[in-house]
Structures are given as structure tokens and as C-alpha cells.
Amino acid sequence: MSYVVQRLLTFPLILLGVSVLVFVSIRLIPGDAITAMLGTEAGMMTPAQRAALAAYFGIDQPVWSQYLRWLGGLFHGDLGISSIYGKPVLTVILERFPLTLQMALMSMVIALLIGVPLGVLAATRNERPSDLIVRIFAMLGQSTPSFVIGVLIIYVLSVYFGMVPAMGTFTPITVDFWASIGQLIFPAITLGFAFAASVTRIARSAMLDVLSDDYIRTARSKGASPMSVVWHHALPNALIPVVTLSGVEFGYLLGGAVIVEQIFALPGLGRLVLDAITQRDYALVQGSVLFIAFNFLVVNLLVDLAYVALDPRIRLGGR
């Protein structure tokens, strides 16, 4: 259990490190925020106006004092004001987050629905043609970048079906369930493809490991049906690495998928950060990167806890 406690203790430390790193690095980007914000209009400002604007966004202070002020604000949910949107950073992030969350969930569901059955199938037919086909599929899936899949999907849809996937808009799932799912289905397939390939591979190798265990032989020799052995006795244990992998992958997806969002013109977290970086929106970059890192760390922590809960050997102190 001390492992979990240790993880909990280092958690704020890592977040603090992330915050310092992003705070410093965004300020290393050449060009100043005011010019980036106003474009050519910045040239028309008097020095006094410039100074007033800098004071409004708090960027007239020395960096360390800006950092301390920002850190203080964090504790009551104040991440500053976005210079692009003129709204509180947290509000902007929370507007974008539902899309990213839903897309991540949908790709995970797709990946598990395809990956687990394929992995189990391949493991039970080890070295036979169906196993080989599944392995080739998984290898190809892992080697195909999401943007290749995305571009291919758009091509097939437009050339062979004469349709264009919904782009640029997003209806929240609370407003219209099916419209919302429909808008994200192709981006989710794009992301889910490589994800499904990794799930297949890990499910297959975990299943092969488990199937050679003694307790499976015992179950077989006491006359359990082959189906029951695979699905009942073996699968629950083989799922432990699948849970770990899916959790980590899900944590990454929560950080937004810049490229896929770009291809399908979706207003998700990834493009938010991309825009914030290119337009020098200091507060928005800091806030969103911290938000993403926080989610990633929380998901990883949960994965570790799930791992401990699922595997009694660890729970009982075998580490």
C-alpha cells in the first residue's frame, strides 16, 4: 500500500513541476503577448495604453511574481483571463472539454469492442491462420498514424458515399444524443483504430500467458467447457493488462488529439492549446496544459489503483 501513498505524495510535486515548466517555456516564445493579441493594431497604441493592457493581464510584473500570483489564484479556481477569448480560462477549457472527453470515451469503447474479442480469438487459435490474420491487422493498425486513417476515412466517405463527415460543429450529448454521437463517430474511429490494435496485441499476449497457467489446466481437467475456461476462468485475469493499457491511452486522449481535431475541424482541447500557443495566450496555455497534465496524472493514479484492486497478488503485498 505504501506504493499508493508514495504516488499520492509525489502527485502535487509533479503538477508543480509541470506548472513551472509551462510557465517558463511559454515566456521563452519570441514576440510579446500584446502584439500577438492585437496584431497590426498594436502599432497604433500609445505606450500608456500598452502598459495598461499589460497590467490588466498581469504580465507587467516580474516572472516570479506573476507565477506566485497565478499559483495563488489556482487554489480558488482562478486560472486567469484568456487574451484570445476575453473570458476566464477555466470557462474556456470547460467549454471544450466535453467534446474531448466524449471522443476519448467513444474511441476507448470502439477499441475495447474490437480489441478484446480479436485478442481472445487470436490467443485461442494460437499459430493458426485466424491468429495470423489478427496479428497482421494489429501490426498494421499500430503502424498507421491517426492522420493517415483520418484522411482515408474522409476520402472513402466523400468519393464512395458522396458524403462529408460533420465538421466544425459539435452538439453536446445532453442536447441531442444521437446527433452528438454521429458527429464524433468518424473522429472516434480514427483514434480508436490504433488504440484497438494495441488492445488486440496486449489482450492476445495476456490471454496466451494466462492460458498456460496451472489453474487453467485444473479447470480443464475438472471438465469445464472450453468456452467457460476461456471466458470465465482466463479472461478476467487476462484483462488486467488491458485495463492498464486502456487507462494510460485514455489519459493521453483526454489531453486532446490535436491532429484529428485539425483534420475534422473539431473544437476540442488539442486545438485550443495549439491556438493558444500560436497566439501567445499565456494564461490559456498555462491553464490548459496544467488541466491536461492533471487529468493525465489522475487517470494514471486510478489505473494504478485499479491494478492493485484487480490483482490480489499485489494487494496482499507481493511487491
Binding site: S25, S143, L208
Partner: protein
Amino acid sequence: MKKALAALIRHPSGRIGLFIVGLYLIIAILGAVGLTPHNPLQQFMLDRLKPPSGNFWMGTDLLGRDTMSRLMLGIGQSMIIAFASVAFATLAGTVIGLLAAWWGSLWDGILMRLMDVLLAFPAILLALLIIAIVGPGTLTSVAAIGIVYTPIFARVVRGPALSLKRRDFVDAARTFGSSQRYVLTRHLLLNLVAPLAVQVTLALAWALLTEAGLSFLGLGTQPPTPSLGLMLSESKNLMTQAPWLMIFPALTIMLGILGFNLTGDALRDILDPRTQRRDA
């Protein structure tokens, strides 16, 4: 080394992987010495958007440039960035991982937590931040991809290094008065070659993927230098009129990544007897 290569050739997927990687290296060299069917930057004004033909095997783009010649140069560009960034990540990660394991306690904690901080950033966002600071370009891509993958190498090295450090033969070497550097390089590093080799090959596949992704976003290799990612992203608006502009770069990217993935997997099979015949 020779034995590993022979085993790779005997391994069914290792053979295919090695073949692809070898082919890509040859193409990269041919492109670098100028042995392309056409000048990759030349614009054949009368042959714009031509489908594949005897003269232009993979067709031409909107500016009348030969797709095949551009792909050959793009492969070279991708390979240079992939190899350079993985070399960077391997070197930096190995040094950090070894020192963390060797010094132990406080230093181990500090170094590995720093790596955790880097790992908490999504890879592509970290790369974007670095590119925003230094400006896009070949060297920036190398640095960005290299920094992103450094923590992974640090982790791969630290674990085995920690357990090696406690082994008797390391203690023995130290009692005999071997210098710290000798013990680190001779006894620790030499025993880490196997796990590192696997990681390096797989990292090359990711680096290829990340490079193509960055160029796809327009933040990697800058035009007019051809790059696979940029060629694919430029093909997006023309895909119904000129599908060859999309198909060939897409296949080139996929096949390259596949080659390194197959080789890496085969290496893991060969070097780690426990997973033999499992993860193919």
C-alpha cells in the same frame, strides 16, 4: 551483434522489417545523392496534377512536381530526423537513467520526478511548445522529438541498472578498485544493450510517426524541402481530383513505421526468451 542480425533474418517478421528498413535507407541515400527520376523541386508547368504515368510514376502535384522524387527526398528527411532524435533521446535518457540508478536516493528521486513531469505532458503538446519557442525546422523537430522520448529511455535504463548495481559482479569490480566510469560503462551499460536495442528500434517507429504528424500540422520540416507529413496534408484538398497525391505518401509513411515496428518486435522476441513467440 552478428548473432543478433542472423537471428533477425531467421525471424519471419524480423526479416520483413529489416528488408523495409534497408529499402528505406537505400532510397534515402539515392535521394540524398540526387539519383531521383526528376528534380524534386522542379515544376513541370505543362504536367500539373498528372496521374501516374511512364514519365511520372507516382504522378505530379499542383505545381507540377514529381511525386516520386519528392517522396524519395521526404523519406530521407524523415529518416534523418528519426535517427537523430532517437540518438539524442537514447543518449540523454541513458545518462539520466544510469546516474539516477547509480547515485540513488535523493538524486534518483529528483531526476526521475523530472522525467515524470515531462511524461505528464502529452507528447505532441510538448513538441508544439518547443517548436513555438525555437521556431519550426529540421533541428527543432530533432530536439522536440528527442526531448519527448528522453524520459522513456531514462525509465528503460534505470530499472535494470538498479538491479544490476546490486549484483555481486559489480560489487566485485568496485572492490578491485575499478574506476566509477569503468564500472558504469563496462558493467552496467554493456548489460543494458539488449533492452536498449529493442527500445531504440521501437522509438524509431514513433519518431517517424511524430515527425510525420508535426509536418502534417505544418510545424515540422518547412517547404520547399519535401516531407511526407506535409505532402499528405497538402493532398487533403485535392483528394478527389488527385488521389495519388494522398495514397503514395500515406503508404510511404505506413510502410516505414511498419518496418521499424516489425524489426523492434522481432528483436524483443529474440532478446527476451520469456516473450518468445508471443508478441509477434
